[in-house]
């Protein structure tokens, strides 16, 4: 999480600044693209567009959905079938036992719930740091806010790799806490808060909220805590949704950091455990385990598609 966001964050924060006005322009313009209405009326153009769009859609199905469908099929296919005829459309025998074996005997359930716990904690820490920090910097506006904002923004331009070793040593021997956080979920949860992209995103959103509402609430005697809880947070659902999606999916995908700080297999998430499991479980069960690991992110994507693609438009694709 901490790793992935670092450099992409710079883009996302910037794109957010430049993106919207361009898009508003598009929304207000007449309904046309590169190909004009007159072009569309020409049969040759119409047909070549149809054919190329058809080809594009077919290849997107093949490339985007194909591997997932294959994984779904392989998860319920006996090993021998998968090895002998990997591309047969229909398995000879369906073997739901793979999924059960993976879940129980290989203890995928444990790693699954570890992943859920890690994602939940990362989400909570990200939200708490981003909302409280964004609120203090945007609404309460202390005199030193520019210094803090500058220091937060500066971290966007430090490549993630620079943090790797010193952050690991910090977790090994943390100040204030005293005992090592290695092999505890805290090692993944706490550093997730230091995500400049989330903080800036929330802060910019709070900046855009109407000041009059804050003034009115203050007049009615709301203190800073009440204002945060009852005025600002309820108005922030859209941005909290985007930050939540980033945090949860980021935690689900993260590999290198949990690999370093959670050496105990009993504590590891799916992403760390799967490569190790490959060596000593049978192929069909392994592919079933891969399928189980994919379900949650794919379901989240299907449900919150709009939010994902909005996030991607901000540059979410960039890997750190």
């Amino acid at each position: 999480m901490t790793y992935n966001a670092s450099n992409g964050g710079a883009l996302k924060a910037r794109m957010l600044r430049t993106g919207p006005d361009k898009n508003q322009k598009a929304a207000g313009a007449n309904d046309r693209g590169i190909v004009s209405q007159a072009d569309w009326r020409r049969p040759r153009v119409r047909w070549s567009m149809r054919i190329s769009h058809g080809l594009l859609l077919a290849s997107l199905f093949l490339v985007g959905l194909g591997p997932l469908l294959w994984l779904g099929k392989a998860a319920v296919t006996p090993t021998q079938d998968t090895l002998r005829e990997p591309l047969s459309l229909w398995p000879n025998g369906i073997d739901l036992e793979n999924l059960v074996t993976a879940w129980t005997r290989v203890e995928i359930d444990r790693y699954f719930f570890n992943t859920v716990a890690l994602a939940f904690g990362v989400w909570l820490v990200s939200i708490v740091v981003a909302t409280t920090g964004g609120y203090a910097l945007s609404v309460l506006r202390p005199a030193y806010r520019k210094v803090v904002i500058g220091l937060v923004m500066a971290t966007l331009f430090v490549p993630a790799v620079v943090l790797l070793v010193p952050l690991y040593l910090t977790i090994l021997n943390p100040p204030l806490v005293g005992t090592s956080m290695i092999n505890t979920f805290w090692a993944v949860w706490l550093p997730a808060g230091a995500n400049a992209f989330n903080v800036l995103l929330v802060m910019r959103f709070f900046d855009s909220l109407p000041r009059e509402v804050f003034e009115a609430a203050r007049m009615d005697g709301a203190g800073p805590f009440r204002m945060f809880w009852s005025v600002v947070l309820p108005m922030s659902k859209p941005i909290l949704g985007v930050v939540s999606i980033f945090a949860i999916i980021g935690a689900w995908k993260d590999f290198l950091w949990p690999l370093l700080v959670l050496p105990d297999p009993a504590m590891q998430p799916l992403s760390v455990r799967l490569p190790a499991l490959q060596k000593f479980i049978e192929l069909d069960v392994f592919l079933a385990a891969l399928a189980i690991s994919t379900i949650i992110p794919v379901v989240l994507f299907l449900v919150f598609q709009r939010m994902f693609l909005r996030g991607a438009g901000l540059g979410g694709a960039v890997k750190g």
């Binding site: 992409g8 710079a10 883009l11 993106g19 006005d21 898009n23 598009a26 929304a27 313009a29 693209g33 590169i34 769009h53 594009l56 997107l60 490339v63 997932l68 294959w70 005829e85 990997p86 708490v128 740091v129 409280t132 920090g133 005199a143 030193y144 520019k146 210094v147 803090v148 904002i149 331009f157 490549p159 790799v161 620079v162 790797l164 070793v165 010193p166 040593l169 910090t170 100040p175 706490l190 808060g193 910019r204 900046d207 203190g223 805590f225 689900w252 995908k253 799916l270 992403s271 799967l274 891969l290 994919t294 709009r306 994902f308 693609l309 991607a312 438009g313 979410g316 960039v318 890997k319």
Partner: protein, 353 residues
Amino acid sequence: MSTSSTTTERDPIPSGHEGTDSAHGADAPAGLAPQVPAERGLATASAPRRAWVAWLNAPGRWASSGGLSTLIFLMPLLLSFGLFSWWPIVRSAIMSVQNTNLVDEPTFVGLENFQQVLSDPLLGTAVLNTLYFAALALVLGYPVPLAAAVLMSEVRKAKGLYSALAYLPVVIPPVVSVLLWKFFYDASPTGVFNTVLGWVGIDPQPWLQSADSAMPSLVLYATWAAAGGTIIIYLAAVIGVPTELYDAAEVDGAGIWRKVWHVTMPQLRGILLVTFILQIIGTAQVFLEPYLFTNGGPANSTLTVLLLIYRYAFENSLGGDYGAATALSLMLAGVLAVFSAIYFRITRSWSTS
């Protein structure tokens, strides 16, 4: 659904009026026991200085005017960034000139770590491999998403389906898709990809097994895994091109190809440059693919810089060589800082124009 209108409902970022008055506070008293660690020794504005003075004169007034609750709200941010971002960044600079083994007190060794890294015969291999990866990723990963996005911008029905399908590979956890592709890359004639190649009459390929084809295989996967995100970015940019420009081009008699080449592409120049730089920054730090697919092999043909850093620090049987690892990290960061600076300049000029 259209991606154009969904980016954000409102612009949450007021364009930059920061940093206008940060220059004349460098002499801010550093020893005044600031309650915010971020303040110490850094350039502060004149307004903060007034606040400091007020606070020193009347701590009660500072607290009652909301200073204390502001600080309480800032605490999570200051603690998490302080402990897990700012301090590690400073520490990496310190560690690169130290000999650290976690047992003895660290000793100052000057530039020894840098010399050690620079004399490592594997460094050249790792740098060349990383450059090779970056170059291949550009050749494969640059034109395809662009062409797809231009084509998708003209889709009239079910545009959302196209975007969703394109983005699906990005959603799959990278570890899962790498392990899946590892199976697809099976070098035997019955491997998944080799079966497909067999249908069109191509001989089985060794994929990850040979030093020549291992890196291209990694890049092929990386392109598949990342293209969806790039397509969505380009798509938003293509849709954002002002349509009056096309109207004008048509008046001048431009056909579809000429419109794409002379109107759309020049309008995308900025975003193309940004994705180019970000791809460089991203590929320079490639780790997951070489680590899980090949672990640097065969014959070090996929050993990348980040994999080398990882090995220095975490796969050393004699205990981690943290000094060498941070030294190499800093050198990589230095190179990337150049790209970051270019990138920052470009995007800054956008938001002011």
